[in-house]
Symmetry: C2
Subunit: 215 residues, 2 copies
């Protein structure tokens, strides 16, 4: 009953979740998605991090988001931090977390895994509606009914700020791995472009963590 | 507000839904999924039917179900009608309708479409949990929260038997197209294998319809 599957993008949040899961559960594996993302380089990070953590990683392809297009992560549109007419940044991929969690659940169903761990958080985030707790709860309910199979989605970072996520990674002893290997930048620049929202939130959080931690 | 998107597999139910939608809504288009299904031939039917109906059809690829495998529709496993240990036939693809509706919603989001029409029904069906009204309602809720965009999923066939679905297609004047072009057989046999559940339910329903309609 304690088999768990971590959604591992290779970013700061999911990397922290992976090491959190290893502390909390007896059996952990990771799943990543090759969905034609602009920052495809994050998959190299995910692979390295899974290896460092000593867990099995499965990479599933999804060729549908590129076919849909219409956003800066899966289409030929430049990343910008402005709000679009829908009041979201143009890096919002409609349905992404819903579909990632659904495919992860389909994989879990086959392997008799009952726990999914995912790094969504609604405190310092980019405004994506699929990161909110209400959305995650609704997705869990939809999965459980549609598959007639009970799965719990754990989101240990949901109410943490980015600074608190850095603090958690320090406390559970994975901060060096997060700093060294995780990739957040939407533009796919190794080490960060320092421009996109993902880079800005990561760096801002780290500075706050340092300030609060070392007075 | 009356723009609609019909999930068109090319089978009896979705074909009937397409013509129902054309009667009920002013603007209709269709979406189909090329997901590596054993009965890939249904996509030829869907294309012909969309053309006959005079609606635009979009075909989205999904290469993930083949990668997941584990069932008779997207893996090298023979279709049988026995119940597996999970009390479902081996044609159950975990997450399929959840993911189809999510991708359809992502497409609808981009096109400012607020209505999805889908052919799921829970009366004469194969026992798939993602065809039940509870599942559809939960999926609608998950989509609306995860995308922060209100979409209504209409399932006009939900409580109809297969005989009643044949009757509906007669009443709205599409029965000849359903009979001539729609494809139901899981084994991909043109005209039906007469063995798989899809063939059996279709044929049984048609006989009941004929009997009730022509005394």
């Amino acid at each position: 009953m304690s088999k768990t599957l971590v959604l591992l993008s290779g970013g700061q949040d999911s990397t922290t979740c992976l090491f959190w899961a290893i502390k909390e559960f007896s059996s952990v594996e990771a799943i990543s998605f090759d969905y034609g993302q602009r920052h495809h380089i994050e998959l190299d990070s995910a692979k390295t991090i899974a290896k460092e953590a000593g867990v099995t990683q499965t990479v599933l392809p999804i060729n549908t988001f590129n076919a849909l297009g219409g956003n800066a992560l899966t289409d030929q549109i430049n990343v910008n931090n402005k709000m679009e007419s829908n009041k979201l940044p143009n890096t919002f991929v409609p349905g992404r977390n819903l579909i990632f969690l659904s495919f992860a659940a389909a994989y879990a169903y086959q392997k008799e895994i009952r726990n999914l761990i995912a790094g969504m958080n609604q405190t310092d985030y980019s405004g994506y509606p699929d990161c909110r707790i209400e959305s995650i709860n609704a997705i869990q309910n939809a999965i459980n009914l549609a598959m007639d199979y009970n799965i719990t989605i754990h989101t240990p970072l949901m109410f943490k700020s980015k600074a608190e996520i850095w603090r958690l990674s320090h406390d559970i002893g994975c901060i060096d791995i997060v700093k060294k290997y995780s990739h957040s930048c939407y533009n796919g620049v190794k080490g960060g472009c320092n421009y996109c929202n993902a880079c800005i939130l990561r760096e801002k959080g780290f500075k706050e963590f340092e300030k609060s931690f070392i007075p």
